[in-house]
Amino acid sequence: MSDRAKVLALHGGLLVLLFALQFVLPAYHHGNLARIMVLASFAVGYNVMFGYAGLLSLGHALFFAAGMYGMGLAVQHGGAAPVPGLLAGIAAALAVSLAVGLLALRTAGVGFMIVTLMFAQAGYLTILYFGTYTRGDEGLVLQQAQRVLWGIDLTQPGTRYFAALLLFAVCVLATLAMVRAPFGKVLIAIRENEERARMLGYDVFRYKLAAVVISGVISGLAGAVYGLLFGYVGATFASVQYSIFPLLWVLLGGAGTVLGPFVGTLFMFYLIDLSSAVTSAYMLVAGVALVLLTLFAPQGLVGEIRDRIWRWLP
């Protein structure tokens, strides 16, 4: 089997498995998995920038929230249907990520982390400041009638699962195509050795800006879909913890791997879910797991698999 066939079989196989799981999972895990797939799409977006282009952002909540509020405000105040709402979310994420990219990419390393963190905090405070429209911390609750897409009710668990799977599949296949294309190879080259990439004639700034925008749009799309599927648009999603989550998910699953974001999100979600059923100190369990993974699997779960077994993993 060629590497290409293996890659397609593995990623296609996962999507087929996720499709089949909806018929067998009990309701509780069914609901969880729908949520995980949307959050994993957010992580996939984060991974484009961090895992492939090597840009460590601490402000991705801003892109997630831009998509979510772009959709939420259009639906709530503009009376938009879900599809125009989603498009508004994408447009908002595009505009925000382009602006942040143009400014933040003037810095590098720690400076880049701080600038993205500050932009995200400014975004969070902006949402609170315009509480008249955003209802601040309380957030907007979307009614069932506002969440019907082409006659399909997204509040139903079955359709919700399917919509989440569709989003996840689009994000995974898009990044898979990206990293196998010359464009993705250049991003990896920039991550590995920026100066060398520049001296091969690549306009490093433009490639990095493109990575920020692609990453921002995928994250924003995930935010918009999250709001639509779960009916809630709140300022929590713009807070700093939603900038840290995708970083953790991607680190755990394996930065710079296509499946890492999903594996990391799944792992972290159930780690907290299972440990909180046992103890109120569940964050301690999560912390210990993180330390252990950092010690014994510094490349993340999928990253270690690639290093040790499947060297062809993209």
């Binding site: 010359p182 190879k185 250049v186 990896i188 080259a189 590995e192 050795n193 100066e195 060398r196 990439a197 520049r198 001296m199 091969l200 004639g201 690549y202 306009d203 490093v204």
Partner: protein
């Protein structure tokens, strides 16, 4: 016809004059060696040519066009290629991918890229499996990989910064043959410490000392030049 020239090209680092008012002309088709003692400003000078370093003053003209204001990637796009003094390959990427990254700016399509990459690897004599990680190669072979990455760009001006450092005698002999071969189609500017390479492949030699051009001429002339010997031996 002149392919590359500089006028009054200068660079100071916090008061240290690394390159000072250099007027330099490189005719098309020539193999020029740039020599000089350590710290003479050779790497800084070629850094100014290809845009890695911004000059404090002066101009760089490439093929009749003033490129002083162009960023490095645009200069590379005009047909310059630069290989690094300290090997700077993509260590975690494969041999193949290293060269392919250099090739893809010029040729499109997987098959065309593959043909170019394999040709370039063969020309420099890298016989390792192309899928090996570049970081696993010996130092000398990483140097050869650097050269392959330069070659595959089919540049009009190839700038090589100490290409033979760390190569075995047999590899140096191969390198000399490669440069002679290339000189039919490519202008080459070569920073080199190995005098046998300079004597055998260079058409002309420029000697830099303290950031200024000390002398210029054929390899034989430079070999006999008292100032050059003084600069190298430190008795001047």
């Amino acid at each position: 016809m002149t392919l590359l020239s500089t006028r009054g090209l200068s660079k100071s680092f916090a008061g240290l004059r690394a390159v000072h008012e250099v007027d330099f002309d490189l005719p098309k088709g020539e193999v020029r060696a740039l020599i000089g003692p350590n710290g003479a400003g050779k790497t800084t000078f070629v850094g100014l040519l290809c845009g890695r370093i911004t000059p404090s003053a002066g101009q760089v003209v490439f093929d009749g066009r003033d490129i002083s204001q162009l960023p490095a990637h645009r200069r590379i796009g005009l047909g310059m290629a630069y290989t690094f003094q300290i090997t700077s390959v993509f260590a975690r990427l494969s041999l193949y991918e290293n060269v392919a990254l250099a090739a893809r700016r010029r040729v499109q399509g997987a098959a065309a890229v593959e043909a170019e990459v394999l040709t370039a690897l063969r020309k420099v004599g890298l016989t390792e499996a192309p899928e090996r990680a570049a970081g696993d190669l010996s130092y000398g072979h990483q140097r050869l990989l650097e050269i392959a990455m330069g070659l595959v760009q089919a540049p009009r001006l190839l700038i090589l910064d100490e290409p033979t450092q760390g190569l075995s005698d047999a590899e140096i002999a191969g390198f000399k043959a490669l440069v002679r071969d290339l000189s039919a189609t490519t202008t080459i500017l070569l920073i080199e410490h190995n005098m046998s390479v300079v004597m055998e492949v260079a058409d002309r030699v420029t000697v830099l000392n303290f950031g200024e051009i000390l002398a210029e001429g054929t390899p034989q002339e430079m070999h006999a030049n008292a100032d050059v010997q003084a600069a190298y031996l430190g008795t001047g």
